[in-house]
Amino acid sequence: MVRYLAILLSVLAGATSAVRAQVSASAKPYQIVIKGGHVIDPKNGINAVMDIAIAPALDMQPLAWGQALSPDQEGRIAMIAENIDPGLAVQVVDAKGLYVVPGLVDIHSHNFWGHDGERQMNGPRGLPPDGFTFRSGVTTVVDAGGSGWRTFPLFREQTIERSQTRVLAMLNIVGEGMRGSRYEQNITDMDPDSTAKVARTHDDLIVGIKLAHFSGHDWTPTDRALAAGRLADIPIMVDFGSAKPYLPLETLFLEKFRPGDIYTHCFGGNSSTSPDGRESIVDVTTNKVKLYVLEAQKRGVVFDVGFGGASFLFAQGTPAIAGGFYPNSISTDIHVESMNNAMKDMPNIMSLFMAMGMPLEAVIAASTWHPAQEINRSELGNLSVGAVADIALFRLVEGDFGFWARDGKIAGRQRLFTEMTLRGGHIVYNLNGRVDPINAKYISN
């Protein structure tokens, strides 16, 4: 990799015109000013046309591909105001007609790609994040249980440290991680003590405990995940598997879950009156969200979308949204299958929730500030002065669009398209080049 970069650099050096001059001793205080965009920053209650100025990082060298940003490489938000002089910035982004929001936080992702493992654990089904995050406006992902306490060090080395995307993790309660059913059914590999110990050791990166795919009428896996969550003082996220008869959601939400625990795939389930499989949150006989679900959300249980390949149903989502029950967070459950299926990416499912009637501001909150709080990273998902400048710019396009899921399709008049993404003040995705100059002539500190 280093060798490859060295060769690439030498190739670039050969093409003299491709060498990017670094401006030194610039008098300009800001690296970037984003001009004229409509800022939606739910944490700070901003929903208006504003300018944003970004201060340069301590170390504002061009980013290396395939390498995590160090804190010194992260530029921060310096000012947000109605009118900031573009002459004060090295680069000026023309955001007229665009929405400017905090970089999206996708708390249900699968990124443990690799060679020697299986499924979502060190296998080909995990996605190296950078190719799919930035083009969707996502700057932070949480890998939801790809790794367990035994495999996390490899995940850290192989994915986290090699991604410009901020990658956090929920540790699978299964020591091997998401390696496939014969591992995920193995209760003896669900060790709360070892799991909590690794979570505490890496508390800069591990934000929760994940339970997934367990099939069986048995609370033990849930209890073990909760035990690990208590020991490490972090939330758990549950993909509730299936059982015959199902384990009641009411027990999970009101007796097992602590406030802050996360129920993902919240619009999935059997969506029927069957006693088997997985219960759904909307009662299909009344088309209303079940009362204990409303009560659970009130007491702090988190309802997360986790759209995935087959985990969202209009039969559940449409009545819930129409009745005013919004998911706390919108997340993808992205993997090779779901991204080529109905789910696709964050902007697609955000647009789908808008088409169901959820307002833009609520959709943005559910994709930024809410998930940041859910994972106890309240420094993320907002545009406060001093925050790391993770920012997404979207264009809301009017037209005839369709959104589908495994149980049907709805029409929509609006669709979000990602125009630009900034990670730590660096432009890491830029669809139409709406910035001048296009590439940073970095301020040297």
Binding site: R3, Y4, L8, S10, V11, L12, A13, G14, A15, T16, S17, A18, G66, G114, H115, R119, P124, R125, L127, P128, D130, G131, R135, G180, S181, A212, H213, S215, D239, S242, G268, N270, S271, S272, S274, D276, G277, R278, G308, G309, A310, A315, V336, M339, N340, N341, A342, K344, D400, G402, F403, W404, R406, D407, G408, K409, V428, N430, N432, G433
Partner: protein
Amino acid sequence: MQRTLLMLGLVLLLLPGLTLGQRRNQPSSILIKGGHVIDPKNNINEVMDVAIRDGKIENVAKQIEPAPDSKVIDARGMYVTPGLIDMHGHFFPNAGRGDPAPDVLTLRSGVTTAVDAGSSGWRTFPDFKREIIDESTTRVFAFLNIVGNGFSGNEQDTADMNAKLAADMALKHKDNIVGFKVAHYIRRDWIPIDGAIEAGELAGGLPVMVDFGSARPALSLEELLLEKFRPGDIYTHVFGGNAAVGSPVSPGGREAVVDQEGNVKPFAFKAQQRGVIFDVGFGGASFDINYAMQAMKHGFYPNTMGTDMNYHSFNGAMKNILNVMSTFLTLGMDLSSVIEGATWKPAQVINHEELGHLSKGAVADVALLSIREGDFGFWDREDYKIKGNQKLECQLTIREGRVVYDFNGISIPDPE
């Protein structure tokens, strides 16, 4: 996934009324109605219906009535083209660079065939085949790197360039390996290129694709194109290099196909006439809009629209094949030629003439594209930007008769 299947199974058992995810239960017959078909091989460029049955193109005609079992897709206002072929990408994450696996950035761009350009060599190809080729929905071919370890190895290591072993691997995997690749070499000798061409000959006349590296002083591009290359060999990154290289003051690097006055070098025309293929290979630092503009002004067009998709170009100016194609549309190339450069032409170049067209009986790899009007920008490695008002967008991708990507659900029945 196993869980997904389990859940789907449950849903099937419990809820006979629910329709399944479309990828798992698709009809054997699809009728695409009212789209504007562009099929360069067959000289079709007009509104036509396309019928697909059992994974193959059944018929292309003005008016086709739906069969009783057909899923009808309304393609009015869209272009219907052969599934796109990306001549130049990097799709082997485990070569160590974090390149994308094919399915994730191909299907959503209308690409049904992706050619990996040298990520694997003869020693690593079996891994590439097992982990990627055999596991992907996208049809994946490979140019075998002349370096035995491909991108996992040292591309300067001439000791690891073995024409015989490379050719043997290609002969063993004729279905997957379509040629040989040389890339990133910086020394002033012809060892890798001679080796790749020798491998091409030993393997029965397979083409080589050359990323011309950078030597000091530069190796002669004229010598490569007119003396080394056989007709059918591929010069990628055609609008890269440096126009100043080759002049007396230039220290080295790589020549461009245009000179400092913006004229196309006569040998480039001559090479194209004798059958050398010029591939875009946009990549992270290999595309200069001004070179492309100057060349096209003088009538020199690229043959193929290879992206050089890789772990950095996908977030750079390149993004995906539709963005590359839209760049060339904006530069004045006509839509049909742009489509040809991403369908029939690359199919011929890789000697897979069964692909890249919509002839009756051909495998039903199809892309439905639309053109979005708006204010767009396209830019290059020099930060040079042009404005455009059209951008290609992928609406639907069909691979061997199955819908594998559907942006707006146009293949899903309308709600009642």
